[in-house]
């Protein structure tokens, strides 16, 4: 069993779509879940390294360590849930080409061991994302896709600058080799590389002040696509961002800069969400806010805090998938996503789902988000970063304003419309909700894994 299958099989499935149009939904689910099982079977056997060509400078290498394995498992899990969710739907078969391609590219991103390969998957993922955005097939969707493309190519340019500078200085593109000899480059070139990488990946990882494009794109895309963007795509880039940062042993002053940017990102996103009138935008802002928290935590260079961040990534991916899919049910009913629709639906099931999702995002017990927040705050106090602790707590209060306003409006006395939800979506949404509660009550297993991932992430180069 080669780790290449995590990339090639989804890619193959995607290209075979035209031939198996009618069965592809089932094939896709089967393949995703099969690969999920394979990924789980790798647990404990990491790290694994695979090369495609053996020319040492330009070899294509794939690395499966406990960190990338965690993300591969997470992505395949989310994608399995996602395709199961759409199992019964006849419409839009072409979207399976794209979702499979997205899956192949994100697992390629986290598995790649050399920076040029990362660039290739970066491009595949971007192009897939542009097309996914345009799937709405109306004016809004197309203009959103074009904007996305312009910003995306900006990111590619900066990434390319970094890659070229690295290659000119070191003559290699293998991350491991770069990591070992990065300090030999002159100070100024080092800075240029780090800065270009920061801008390139920062745009994609949706960090302030490079994330002004995000919310419009989320609004232009459909909720299902947003679920994938929020749960999978942004997570892959964040992992990559910090994977490379720790591989290059960047200076602690850059890391503390990232933490400050994380705080600003969190504050700005939550403040903007406060007066937003559209639920899709609110969810997008909330994703940006969580990314801010992840930046604070991941740049701490401490295993305790980072394990909290990894826990948060897992919980947040499940939560956002659940929330966007639930919002999709509402949008299909009301044909709009303004906050007013929360006053007009009558479904105890959806209220409970939204309540669990929101409370978990706010970090309230007994939900998964609470454990993540507690671990992060605890670790930050251990590092004596009181200001960050205070900032996270105060900004969470702003976050609470709009989430509780949404929850409160579901209880307002207004004419309500019943909502019918089919069995399969209901079961899947309940499963995700149960997972969020379960990890809030019994976090130990996931915390252990997170700790393992955090150790690998920090010590990236030692593997």
């Amino acid at each position: 069993m080669s780790i290449l299958y995590f990339v090639t099989i989804p890619l193959l499935a995607s290209f075979l779509t035209p031939f198996f149009k009618d069965y592809l939904r089932y094939i896709s689910v089967a393949l995703n879940s099969l690969l999920l099982v394979f990924a789980l079977s790798f647990m404990g056997d990491t790290p694994i390294r695979e090369y495609i060509s053996f020319d040492s400078a330009l070899s294509i290498s794939f690395v499966l360590d406990s960190a990338s394995l965690f993300f591969v498992v997470l992505f395949f899990l989310i994608m399995t849930l996602f395709s199961l969710y759409h199992l019964k739907e006849e419409s839009r078969k072409d979207s399976f080409i794209l979702t499979n391609m997205l899956l192949a590219s994100v697992s390629g991103l986290v598995l790649s061991g050399d920076i040029f390969n990362i660039y290739i998957f970066f491009e595949i993922a971007s192009i897939t994302a542009y097309i996914l955005t345009s799937l709405g097939r109306d004016k809004k969707a197309y203009s959103g896709a074009i904007r996305y493309m312009i910003i995306g190519s900006f990111a590619s340019i900066f990434l390319l600058i970094a890659i070229v500078t690295i290659y000119l200085n070191l003559g290699t593109l293998n991350l491991l080799t770069i990591s070992e000899s990065f300090f030999t480059i002159s100070q100024n070139s080092q800075f240029l590389i780090i800065l270009s990488l920061f801008i390139g990946f920062g745009i994609k990882a949706e960090i302030f002040p490079l994330n002004f494009w995000v919310v419009d794109i989320y609004q232009a895309s459909s909720n299902r696509v947003n679920a994938l963007f929020s749960a999978i795509l942004s997570k892959a880039y964040i992992f990559l961002f910090f994977h490379i940062a720790y591989m290059l042993h960047v200076d602690t002053k850059y890391l503390s800069f990232l933490a400050v940017i994380g705080v600003i990102s969190f504050a700005v996103a939550e403040l903007s969400a406060l007066s937003s009138k559209d639920i899709k935008r609110i969810f997008a802002y909330s994703t940006l806010g969580q990314i801010g928290v992840l930046f604070i935590a991941l740049s701490s260079n401490s295993i305790d805090v980072i394990s909290g961040a990894i826990f948060l990534i897992a919980i947040h991916s499940i939560t956002k998938l659940m929330l966007f899919l639930s919002l999709d049910i509402l949008e299909q009913k009301f044909k709009s996503t303004t906050i007013e629709i929360f006053k007009n639906f009558n479904s105890l099931f959806l209220v409970v789902i939204f309540a669990i999702g929101f409370l978990s995002l706010l970090g309230l017990p007994p939900f998964g988000g609470f454990i993540a927040k507690l671990t992060i705050l605890n670790g930050l106090v251990g590092l004596r970063e009181y200001l960050f602790v205070g900032a996270i707590l105060v900004i969470s209060l702003i976050e609470a304003v709009y989430f509780f306003r949404l929850l409160g409006s579901t209880r307002v006395q207004e004419p309500k419309e019943d909502i019918e939800i089919e069995l399969l979506p209901k079961v899947l949404l309940s499963l995700m909700a149960i997972a969020i509660v379960y990890f809030g009550l019994f976090p130990d297993a996931l915390l252990d894994i997170s700790k393992d991932v955090a150790t690998t992430l920090i010590g990236g180069a030692d593997v």
């Binding site: 490079l210 002004f212 700005v268 903007s272 007066s275 309230l364 705050l377 106090v381 009550l441 019994f442």
Partner: protein, 551 residues
């Protein structure tokens, strides 16, 4: 993950929770019986009440800080959903934001303590490991939590609206039990989490004064209210002010008095809120100016309210007197003369709103001609009777309370208080016999009653409530001359009190909210930029960083 242990302090508070929840469950059960099984609100209410009950149990029996925090937050959000059943969106927002603020302050304190002492278990916390510079911030965070939950000024902003707009029965839970979680945390803070040794006495002088000032201001606010539930809400704030004051004295008698007042306040507010809920259920009205003269139709409710306000005002011969007595003796003993004067001032003024409560609803002229009455389910009497009976028993046997508190005092590391008999309450240098006082009062009461009955036929005929033949003021048909109408208006003319009544902390909190909203609309513009501008900004950002970083 959940560390729970049974402690005397936990038993005490959980006992109060049980009294409140069991008696209200009976009422709710009775009122649910008539409704449809598929009723969305009722079904979710049962679940939420259960969750709230469990979370209170977790708070009171927790043996580590994390468990305490989990219970605390679950309490906040589960009660939020119950409040949204009836309250306006704005009010429930206010409730949850203040209470989440309290929760996050608590979380801050918890992670600070946990990180430095390496443990969250109360029994293992060695507070000396925390650097001295952090003692004050941790104390402050915990105090903010306590103040918000118990509604000590200036954090009381959420209390009144919430109590008024919540379900009538749920207001009694809020006032009787949920506010007591703050008191519980206060006791826990100086007995186990931080410990007396590490607390600045200065801070606690300030806390004591905050409590008293709260009670004085809230008392006057209560007097000037026209809504029954608002009056009770302000009264609740005032009473919790006393408890905070007396607990910050840190002596055996102080804690004893605090616990006693907690017990009394729980019973009294359960009784009063259910009583008011009954009146609102019957008449659908919440304003004194629209009520009056109900004694003729509901004598039992009248007697219950009478017992309630005697307890609330702290008059003999009922239980309320015991705790007031202990508060006064403790303050005298500790030579806190100014505090004593302030407490006495506030409790004396409390008579005014107590009287308003009973006069405005039950006495005076009847408004029957304009009101339709619904039949009250018998279950509404249960909580009131439970509260009244316990208040009477405590009045007769005041030292029963001491017997209940002694295990708690021992577990907190104090000497238990000795008492010679259950009839006798010993307050240090003074004591009284509950049995004797009760007998005396019953005799006087019987005497007055018999005189009243013998004079019954000689009392003048009843007059219309708009009849002001014995008034000195110019009549005006638009002015309601009912007693409950406009009481408290005259207080505004008194210089010191007028200032209190005219101002409120509302403006400050609303200013904060406006600032946040304004900055939100401003910052949001960033996310609506055109793609050209975003690209330009990105380039600009890159260039600036390049110039800063390149040497």
């Amino acid at each position: 993950m959940f560390n729970l242990s049974v402690t005397p302090l936990g038993n005490l508070f959980f006992g109060l929770t049980l009294i409140v929840f069991v008696s209200l469950a009976l009422v709710n059960f009775a009122s649910f019986r008539g409704s449809k099984a598929s009723d969305f609100k009722n079904n979710s209410s049962i679940f939420l009440y259960t969750l709230l009950f469990i979370s209170l149990g977790v708070i009171f029996y927790a043996s580590d800080l994390i468990t305490l925090f989990i219970g605390w937050e679950v309490m906040s959000w589960s009660s939020y959903f119950i409040i949204t059943n009836r309250a306006k969106l704005k009010t429930s927002q206010k409730y949850i934001l203040f209470n989440l603020g309290a929760g996050f302050a608590l979380l801050g304190a918890v992670v600070l303590i946990y990180s430095f002492t390496g443990t969250a278990l109360y029994s293992d916390i060695a507070f000396s490991k925390v650097p001295t510079a952090l003692h004050f911030p941790i104390t402050l965070l915990l105090l903010i939590t306590i103040f918000i939950k118990s509604g000590v000024m200036p954090f009381h902003h959420w209390v009144v609206d919430t109590y008024e707009e919540a379900d009538n029965l749920f207001s009694s839970v809020l006032s009787a039990i949920i506010s007591k979680a703050g008191i519980f945390l206060f006791i826990l803070m100086f007995s186990q989490i931080i410990g007396y040794k590490f607390l600045e006495p200065m801070i606690f002088d300030i806390v004591a004064w905050l409590g008293v000032i709260t009670s004085v201001i809230a008392t006057f606010k209560a007097i000037s209210q026209d809504s029954m539930k608002r009056l009770l809400a302000y009264s609740s704030i005032a009473q919790l002010g006393y408890i905070v004051t007396i607990l910050s004295i840190f002596s055996v008698s102080g804690i004893e008095a605090g616990l006693y007042h907690t017990l009394i306040h729980t019973l009294v507010k359960l009784l009063l809120f259910v009583n008011v809920a009954s009146i609102i259920y019957i008449t659908g009205k919440n304003r004194f100016s629209e009520l009056g003269g109900l004694i003729y139709r509901y004598p039992i409710l009248f007697i219950m309210l009478l017992i309630g306000i005697i307890g609330l005002a702290g008059m003999p011969p009922l239980g309320g007197f015991n705790s007031k007595f202990l508060i006064y003796t403790t303050l005298l003993e500790e030579k806190k003369a100014l505090l004593l004067v302030a407490v006495m001032f506030s409790s004396a003024s409390a008579f005014l709103y107590c009287f308003k409560l009973i006069y405005g609803i039950y006495l005076g002229q009847s408004t029957d001609e304009v009101t339709e009455h619904k039949e009250l389910p018998t279950a509404y009497y249960i909580p009131q009777i439970i509260g009244a009976v316990i208040l009477v028993v405590l009045g007769l046997l005041p030292s029963v309370g001491i017997a209940i508190f002694n295990p708690t005092l021992i577990s907190l590391g104090f000497e238990p208080t000795a008492y010679s008999s259950l009839f006798e309450l010993n307050g240090g240098f003074a004591s009284f016999n509950g049995g004797a006082i009760m007998t005396l009062f019953i005799l006087i009461f019987v005497a007055i009653l018999s005189i009243a009955f013998s004079l019954k036929n000689k009392i003048r005929e009843r007059r219309d409530r708009f009849d002001i033949s014995y008034c000195g003021e110019t009549p005006n048909p638009t002015v309601n001359l009912h007693y409950g109408y406009g009481v408290g208006e005259e207080l505004r003319r008194i210089s010191f009190i007028g200032v209190i009544l005219r101002n409120s902390s509302k403006e400050y909190w609303e200013r904060i909210s406006t600032i946040v909203k304004d900055s939100s609309t401003l910052i949001k513009k960033l996310y609506g930029l055109t793609v050209q501008n975003i690209a330009l900004l990105t380039l600009l950002f890159f260039t600036i960083l390049l110039f800063v970083g390149v040497k």
